[in-house]
């Protein structure tokens, strides 16, 4: 991959970026009744054109916040600092009209739970046509021709165009969402848990569909999931997030099979590989619960749950540092963990 080590000091100074998406030192803080809630705490992440990046983490780690911030979809009152460069333009500072143009046409988003993202009282053809009519200002006939093509691309019969969302199964609704995301030929698709509520077989259908479409049209993909195995299968690169920070980043297969950060290894072990004797009758979990973002521990946020925590971890909050070619991890053990890790 084009990514060198992701330590801040390793970054070339403001070079004109060849990246399609370049997130620099992003922080997002929600305003809540109980005080400020830091959801994203300084994230650097970039994505080259045509690349597929997986972002893994558990609920509350800030991964969906990060996804929503790419299109500035955060609730009012949220404080955001840093830069999100999409094709060189900062999404966080652009004007409303430009932002409206970038949404759908520059980057689009596929949410989890398609039932809640579709309008229940409008036929799906109208919903897919809506962004086309708004952005491309084509005639209605032309827009509906495009809809027919899109439906075919996502594997839905043209006859389904007049269906309402409730008449479709979960997998079919997710296909509609993907058709909408593709409608204005974006450069980037952000897919937030696109298969979470689906069965294994339908999940496989949807993942293959996303993978094929993105590859065929040269679209970049930022896919978010809690399932490392799903991301490793679909993406080129994998970033793992914990308590609002990226704790590991590297080539997908290496991160999945040989994580440098203890959290990555725990996440990879949570979903066993069938046939692997070490996980038979031996589920792997992590003691404790995901951290409360308003009351993070001192030092490394992962320390209370970390099987390898040492005294240093209580007062050192490690930054991402180089952990092999194209790899980075934020752990005090990274220099001391020999290649090959523990798994």
């Amino acid at each position: 991959m084009t990514q060198p080590g992701r330590a801040p000091e390793a970054r070339p100074d403001k070079a004109p970026t060849a990246q399609l998406l370049d997130i620099r030192n992003l922080t997002v803080t929600y305003r809540t009744g109980g005080g400020p809630l830091p959801a994203v705490r300084g994230v650097d992440l970039s994505l080259a054109a045509g690349q597929k990046l997986g972002l893994a983490g558990e609920s509350g780690c800030g991964k969906s916040t990060l996804a929503a911030s790419v299109l500035r979809l955060l609730p009012p009152g949220t404080t955001t600092t840093g830069e999100i460069l999409l094709g060189g333009e900062d999404v966080l500072t652009m004007g409303w009209s430009r932002l409206r143009a970038v949404r759908w046409a520059g980057a689009s988003i596929v949410f989890q739970g398609a039932m809640h993202s579709l309008n229940p009282v409008r036929r799906i053809a109208h919903q897919i046509a809506e962004p086309i009519l708004l952005h491309d200002k084509v005639s209605e006939t032309l827009a509906h021709e495009r809809v027919a093509v899109l439906l075919e691309q996502v594997g839905l019969a043209a006859a389904r165009a007049s269906a309402y969302p409730h008449e479709l199964s979960g997998g079919q609704r997710q296909r509609v969402m993907i058709a909408m995301a593709l409608a204005c030929s974006p450069n980037l698709i952000v897919a937030d848990e696109p298969t979470t509520a689906l069965d294994v077989m339908v999940q496989a259908q949807i993942l293959r569909l996303i993978g094929d479409l993105v590859a065929a049209q040269g679209i970049s993909l930022l896919m978010i999931s809690h399932d490392l195995a799903v991301l490793a299968q679909t993406c080129d690169r994998l970033a793992v997030m914990y308590a609002g920070r990226i704790v590991e980043d590297g080539p997908a297969h290496q991160v999945f099979t040989d994580g440098r950060h203890p959290y990555t290894r725990a996440l990879a072990a949570a979903f066993p590989r069938i046939g692997d004797p070490s996980s038979r009758r031996a589920p792997h979990g992590l003691p404790g619960d995901p951290p409360d973002p308003t009351a993070l521990p001192t030092g490394c946020a992962f320390r209370p749950r970390c099987p390898l925590a040492i005294e240093t971890c209580a007062h050192v909050d490690p930054a991402l540092s180089v952990a092999g070619p194209g790899r980075a991890a934020a752990c005090v053990h990274v220099t001391s963990v020999p290649t090959g890790g523990e798994r």
Binding site: E58, S59, S169, G170, G171, Q172, D199, V200, M201, V202, Q203, A204, Q205, R208, H226, D227, L228, A229, V230, A232, Q233, F256, A266, L267, A269, A270, F271, P272, R273, I274, G275, D276, S279, R280, R281, A282, P283, H284, G285, L286, P287, D289, P290, R305
Partner: protein, 362 residues
């Protein structure tokens, strides 16, 4: 094995519902045999809509079977309110979403003690041992020290802790078996393993049986002893986890395993994933012959025709598998295929495994 009586069994169980809009009948469970023995964890797997949740609800006495029987320690369940009350004390339910199954205005103590009160164990805390029982159940579910959790409300707990409260509520009556419907599907990845460890520990230390309903084959690999694969209301393959998940024979089981990310099967076979088209089919219109044939890769690839079984696949129904422990598969291709000669579909009752005659004796 020979003398053991299942804690819970389904015997030729059938459950059907009137279909939506009043057209026809949905055969959600269409002749199922399934046994869960003492100290055994059985995973019931299948896609949504295959009838696995209906089967679990029927085994809990929440649906009345349209045919066949539910047997509890070898005795048919009586569908009277007294019969069901005694039955439900011994067969406890753990639901998928702990946030939805806990009353937000009940404390942890009340949530766990509710079962005791319903079953007349204590009348509103009159008996001094209620507190001890609640504390013991919470401790067994891994919430220690239990007293610290008594007065907490569900919103003050994490998802994993809530699921432990639900499990404590099931354990407080000392059941023989837990029926858990997707017990970890709504939990975080790192918490999931801890809850599964808990279920495994309860089995190992207390001999608690469990029927775990899930679509997650990794969960079966993690904790189950036996697995039953359900498709469109019928169990199509069943047997020990090691056998079924590493050397599956039914094309449906093979397909389910092949689409798992990083699955060993697709790598070893070199064939890549077998992604079935379409979704779980309609239980109001069960296909003739083998119910899987419209989606079956063996039929679609022409291998069934080459094996000269295509007519059977399309027209001849398969025998119903029995609920016992041995590996069985309901597929016309198995047995006629050189690859798998030793495992037949015919469920001939064997000594110790033939469930039906033994049940009648008891």
């Amino acid at each position: 094995m020979t003398e053991r009586v299942p804690v819970l069994s389904a015997h030729d169980l059938r459950v059907s519902f009137p279909a939506r809009h009043g057209h026809g009948v949905a055969h959600a469970v269409d002749r199922v045999n399934l046994d869960v023995y003492p100290g055994e964890i059985v995973a019931l797997v299948g896609e949504s809509g295959c009838g696995k949740t209906t089967l679990a609800r029927t085994l809990l006495g929440l649906e009345k079977p349209g045919g066949g029987q539910v047997l509890h320690h070898g005795q048919p369940v009586r569908y009277t309110s007294r019969g069901l009350k005694a039955y439900r004390r011994d067969v406890q339910l753990v639901l998928q979403d702990p946030s939805g199954s806990l009353n937000p205005r009940h404390t942890v103590y009340e949530a766990v003690a509710e079962g005791l009160r319903i079953h007349g164990h204590t009348a509103l805390g009159d008996f001094p041992d209620e507190q001890a029982k609640v504390a013991d159940a919470l401790a067994r579910a891994g919430l220690r020290p239990a007293e610290r959790f008594f007065l907490r409300y569900p919103h003050e707990l994490s998802g994993g802790q809530r699921q432990r409260v639900v499990i404590a509520g099931a354990l407080v009556l000392d059941p023989a078996i837990l029926v858990a419907d997707e017990p970890v599907a709504s939990l975080d990845a790192s918490v999931r393993g801890e809850i599964l460890k808990l279920l495994l520990g309860l089995r190992d230390e207390r001999g608690l049986s469990a029927l775990v309903v899930t679509h997650d084959l990794g969960l079966a690999w993690n904790i189950a002893d036996r697995v039953a694969v359900m498709y469109l209301g019928r169990i199509v393959e069943t047997g020990p986890v090691e056998k079924i998940l590493t050397a599956p024979e039914h094309p449906y089981t093979r397909a389910l395993l092949s689409v798992l990310p990083e699955s060993g099967l697709s790598e070893a076979g070199g064939a890549g994933p077998t992604i079935l088209t379409g979704e779980a089919p309609d239980p109001t219109r069960i296909p003739t012959g083998c119910r899987f044939h419209p989606r079956c890769p063996v039929v679609a690839s022409g291998r069934a025709a080459a094996l000269d079984i295509e007519a059977a696949c399309r027209g001849r129904d398969l025998p119903v598998l029995d609920g016992g422990g041995e590996a069985q598969v309901a597929c016309h291709a198995v047995g006629s295929d050189a690859g798998a000669p030793d495992l037949r579909t015919t469920p001939t009752p064997r000594p110790g495994a033939g469930a039906a005659p033994r049940r009648r004796r008891r």
